[in-house]
C-alpha cells in the first residue's frame, strides 16, 4: 500500500503521464504519416481539447460546473480576430498581442465574474444558471454589435505568422506548420495545468470540492480559491479561443453560445472530468466522431441523437468517463486519488 502511494506523493511519474506522453507523441507523428483533412482539422480539435481541460479543472477538481466556457472561448477568439484586424502597422506581431489579449481577456473576465459570484456565496445550481446567462450575454453581444464583430456572419480572422525579431518569419498558412505550433502550445498548457492541479493549489481546490466548511475552518479563503480556479479556467478557454480563431480563420457566435458550452460539458463528461488528459482526449474523440457521423448520409439527421445516446450511456455506465474506465481497467492506480471520486 505504502509502496503504491509513495511515488505519487513524491510527484515524479504517474500512469497518466505515460498516457499523456503516448497521446502527444501520437499527435506529433500524425502529420508525418498522413496529410490532408486530418492534419488540417486536428489542431482545431486539440484546441477544443484545451477548452475541455479548462472545464475539467473547474468541474473535476473544483466540483464547479460551468456552462460559460464558450463565453471565455469566444472572448479569446474575438479578441484575436479584432486585434489582428485593427492593430496593423505596428512593430510588434499583432497575433501575439491578440493571443495575449484573448488569454488575459478570458482569464480576467472569469476572475471578475467569479469574484462577484463566489464572494456573494453563489453556488451549485445558481452558479450554473449564472454561467448559462454569461454564455447568452456574450453570444447576444457578438450578434448585436455586427459592425465590429460581423454579427451572425462571423468575423474573418487571418492565419497568424510566427515571428522572432528579424531572424524568423514562419507563415502558418499551411496545415503542417500550424499543426505543430498548436501542438507546441497545447503540450505546455497541459503540463502546466497538470502541475498546478497536482500541487498545493490543486489539492486545495479538491479540498473545497470535498468539504467547503472544513476548508474554511482550516483557514482557507474559499471564495478566493474558487475565484482563482475559475479565472484559470477562463484563461485556458481564452488561449484555446485565440488559437482556434486564427486556425479556423473565423470567430463566430456559435462558439459563444449555450449550445457550444453544453458540448464542452459533454466532452468532459465523456472524457472523464477528473482527468485533464481524459477530457482533452474526450473532446478530440467526440468532436471527430460528431464530424464523422454528420458526414454519413444515412444518419445525417440523427447524429445529434446518436451523440446524445452515447453521452447518456457513458454517464450511466461509467461516471468517471473514459479516463475513469481506463483507470479501472488498468487496476486502481495511485494517481486517481488526488482527483478523488
Amino acid at each position: 500500500m505504502t509502496a503504491e502511494i509513495q511515488p505519487a506523493r513524491r510527484g515524479v511519474f504517474r500512469r497518466e503521464d505515460v498516457a499523456a506522453l503516448a497521446v502527444f507523441l501520437l499527435l506529433a507523428a500524425i502529420p508525418l504519416a498522413t496529410s490532408g483533412y486530418v492534419v488540417y482539422i486536428l489542431p482545431q480539435y486539440m484546441l477544443l481539447g484545451v477548452l475541455a481541460m479548462s472545464l475539467a479543472l473547474l468541474w473535476g477538481h473544483g466540483g464547479i460546473v460551468s456552462f460559460g466556457q464558450a463565453a471565455f472561448f469566444a472572448i479569446g477568439a474575438y479578441a484575436m480576430g479584432l486585434v489582428m484586424k485593427h492593430l496593423t502597422g505596428m512593430a510588434i506581431n499583432s497575433a501575439y498581442v491578440g493571443i495575449l489579449v484573448g488569454t488575459v481577456g478570458g482569464g480576467v473576465t472569469a476572475l471578475l465574474i467569479g469574484y462577484f459570484l463566489f464572494s456573494a456565496g453563489v453556488r451549485a445550481a445558481y452558479f450554473v444558471v449564472a454561467t448559462l446567462a454569461l454564455s447568452i450575454v456574450v453570444e447576444q453581444t457578438v450578434k448585436s454589435f455586427s459592425d465590429i464583430t460581423g454579427g451572425w456572419n462571423g468575423l474573418y480572422v487571418d492565419r497568424m505568422t510566427v515571428t522572432l525579431g528579424s531572424w524568423l518569419e514562419l507563415s502558418l498558412f499551411d496545415d503542417a506548420p500550424i499543426y505543430y505550433v498548436v501542438l507546441a502550445v497545447v503540450v505546455p498548457v497541459y503540463v502546466i495545468a497538470t502541475a498546478l492541479m497536482r500541487g498545493r493549489f490543486g489539492k486545495i481546490v479538491v479540498g473545497i470540492r470535498e468539504n467547503e466548511d472544513r476548508m474554511t475552518a482550516l483557514g482557507f479563503n474559499v471564495p478566493m480559491y474558487k475565484t482563482l480556479v475559475f479565472g484559470l479556467s477562463g484563461l485556458l478557454a481564452g488561449v484555446a479561443g485565440s488559437f482556434y480563431a486564427t486556425h479556423a480563420q473565423f470567430a463566430h457566435p456559435v462558439n459563444a453560445g449555450v449550445l457550444f458550452s453544453t458540448q464542452v460539458v459533454i466532452w468532459v463528461a465523456i472524457g472523464g472530468r477528473h482527468s485533464l488528459l481524459g477530457s482533452f482526449v474526450g473532446a478530440i474523440v467526440v468532436a471527430s466522431l460528431s464530424n464523422y457521423l454528420s458526414s454519413i448520409e444515412e444518419i445525417q439527421n440523427y447524429w445529434p441523437l446518436v451523440m446524445g445516446l452515447i453521452f447518456i450511456a457513458v454517464i450511466v455506465l461509467f461516471r468517471g468517463g473514459l479516463a475513469g474506465l481506463v483507470e479501472k481497467l488498468a487496476g486502481k492506480g495511485a494517481h486517481g486519488r488526488a482527483a478523488g471520486h
Binding site: 506523493r9 479540498g207 466548511d213 483557514g219 474559499v222
Partner: protein
C-alpha cells in the same frame, strides 16, 4: 498563566430564543476546560461564536488580547482557533493522509517538511496504519480522531471540541481523554470540550463550566460540580 481567551457578556438571540445570555468566560493558555449542560443549553452556540460561525448579538471575544468578535471564520482559524464540529467534518472521499495533508497545507510548512509533519500527526492520533484508507470507510471513533488530527496539523492552539467522543466505545472514549490530556501537556495547547459522557469528564480532571438555558450556571472542579445541588436538579429535571 496568561489568559488566552476572554469572553465578555456574550449574548446570542435567534429571533425570540436566547441561546446564550450574557456569558462571561476566561480560559488560560494551556488550560483544558469542559462545558456541560443539558440539550439545548447553548453549548454549540457558544463555541460557534468563538469559531466565528455564529455572530453574537452582543458582547466581546478576545483571543490573545485581540478583539476577534467580528473576524470571519477562516481568519480565526489562521490565528490558531481550531474547531471540531458536533458531526465530524472531514474529507470522506479522500484518504486519511490527504485529510491531514490539507490541514498542513493551511500552515506555512515548507513543502519539504510536509510529509514528516503529516506522519507525525498521524502517529499522534494513532492513524498511521490507516494512512491510505478512505476516510468514509473509517470507524466512527477514528473519524473523530482524524478531525482532532486535522486541527493539530493545522496548528490550532485553541481546540474547540464539540462532543469529541460521540459514537465511541468506552475504550476509545478513555484513550481520547488520555490523548487530549497529553496534547495539552506536551504541545501546550488549550481546549474547550463539550461533553455529555460523565466518565470521560471525570477522567479529564479539568475544570467544568455548566451552561443552562444559555447562562453559566456554575463553574468549578468536577468534584464541586458533581456535588452541586443546582446542577443535579438541572440534569434530573431536564435531561
Amino acid at each position: 498563566m496568561a489568559e488566552l481567551l476572554v469572553i465578555e457578556g456574550l449574548t446570542k438571540r435567534f429571533r425570540g430564543l436566547v441561546a446564550n445570555n450574557d456569558v462571561s468566560f476566561a480560559l488560560a493558555a494551556g488550560e483544558l476546560r469542559c462545558i456541560i449542560g443539558p440539550n439545548g443549553a447553548g453549548k454549540t452556540t457558544f463555541i460557534s461564536m468563538i469559531s466565528g460561525h455564529v455572530v453574537p448579538t452582543s458582547g466581546r471575544i478576545l483571543f490573545k488580547s485581540r478583539d476577534i468578535t467580528k473576524l470571519p471564520v477562516h481568519l480565526r482559524a489562521r490565528i490558531g482557533i481550531g474547531r471540531k464540529f458536533q458531526t465530524p467534518t472531514v474529507f470522506d472521499n479522500l484518504s486519511v493522509y490527504e485529510n491531514i495533508e490539507l490541514a498542513v497545507l493551511a500552515t506555512p510548512t515548507p513543502s519539504r517538511g510536509r510529509h514528516a509533519r503529516i506522519m507525525r500527526t498521524l502517529d499522534l492520533v494513532r492513524l498511521a496504519e490507516q494512512s491510505d484508507r478512505m476516510v468514509g470507510a473509517l470507524a466512527h471513533g477514528q473519524r473523530q480522531w482524524l478531525e482532532i488530527g486535522i486541527l493539530l496539523a493545522g496548528e490550532a492552539q485553541l481546540l474547540l471540541l464539540d462532543e469529541p467522543t460521540a459514537g465511541m466505545t468506552a475504550e476509545e472514549t478513555h484513550s481520547t481523554g488520555e490523548l487530549l490530556r497529553r496534547l495539552v501537556r506536551e504541545l501546550e495547547l488549550s481546549a474547550i470540550i463539550i461533553e455529555h459522557d460523565i466518565n470521560f469528564i471525570r477522567d479529564l480532571k479539568a475544570p467544568v463550566t455548566v451552561l443552562h438555558l444559555g447562562r453559566v450556571l456554575v463553574e468549578g472542579s468536577f468534584a464541586d460540580i458533581e456535588r452541586n445541588e443546582q446542577v443535579r436538579s438541572v440534569y434530573l429535571g431536564n435531561a
